[in-house]
Symmetry: C2
Subunit: 179 residues, 2 copies
């Protein structure tokens, strides 16, 4: 039986630049009420892009919420009217300066479905060509290349700590590790 | 060079039951100011628990933010004063009714470091024993067992869509797939 939680009341608490927040009053399966705090975030895309030698493109940027610089695959939120593939091509170009001939859709998942709406789409690109970065005004991003097997090792020893990057690289290793 | 973002001002916008929200004004490397919306969430733990036949314990629960029931590994936020291993043992017992003889720490990562502080710790348990569930008042959770290779397939076809569950199961497959 599908245990849905019916919304009895919904209160918008904050409406920001990259996210908003609402508190829903829901009816539980036992008919009691409870509150659900829900962060609303646009869908996002991320790209595992590899060159002909199976080096993966990673971007390093400071992440204020965790107060450190992290290594991540290129990613970002979809813009209005953009489909996931268009968004993925755009973010790859903006953050790494590389253009992909084509992108393959691999999977989609929820980043933190307990409290946030964000859905993340993962794409692979393995024919890429260098062009130029095109960063947002408040982005300071360095792009590096890491061999696939080294990237997997960096996940295992905790040097890569971003969830979408871990998912993307482990799936790339499973599906393209032997190319 | 480490590109830190210095906090010039920090405003608490919301203080809730499972998360809070603040807006920081930060100084960028070029000395300009920008705003960062930061969701504060307690550290959390998740457990890949397998029985002697390598069946993985999954829990199914309705997730209000995405308006659907998802299959996930047992997980939850740390309580005050609790270390990650204690929290993982507690959540495993509460959500699945299984007790682990021991837990092995595998890794930790940030769920969505672009806007949220949450750090997730992943543990493996492969000696488990059935006891009884002990759910929170507003939790309605069903526990099922899925063979490891089927769980991996469910990730690949999009039937498992929760990020921490994908990370946990893919790492389990890599590290324990052949036990």
């Amino acid at each position: 039986m599908e245990q849905i939680e019916r919304t009895m009341k919904s209160e918008k608490v904050f409406d920001g630049k990259i996210l908003s927040l609402r508190v829903d009053t829901v009816e539980l399966p036992d008919k009691k009420y409870s509150k659900r705090e829900v962060v609303e975030h646009d869908p996002a895309v991320a790209v595992v892009a590899a060159d002909e030698d199976n080096n993966i493109l990673l971007v390093k940027q400071y992440r204020k919420p965790v107060e450190k610089s992290l290594l991540e695959i290129p990613a970002g939120s979809l813009e209005i009217g953009e489909n996931p593939k268009e968004g993925a091509l755009r973010e790859l170009k903006e953050e790494t300066g590389y253009i992909a001939k084509d992108l393959e859709y691999i999977t989609e998942f929820y980043s933190t479905p307990g409290f946030c709406t964000e859905k993340m789409y993962i794409f692979f690109a393995d024919e890429i060509e260098e062009s130029s970065q095109d960063l947002d005004e408040d982005e300071f991003i360095e792009c590096i290349k890491v061999p696939l097997d080294k990237a997997v090792k960096m996940i295992e020893v905790g040097e890569i700590m971003d969830a979408k990057t871990i998912v993307g690289i482990l799936m790339y290793k499973r599906l393209r590790g032997d190319k």
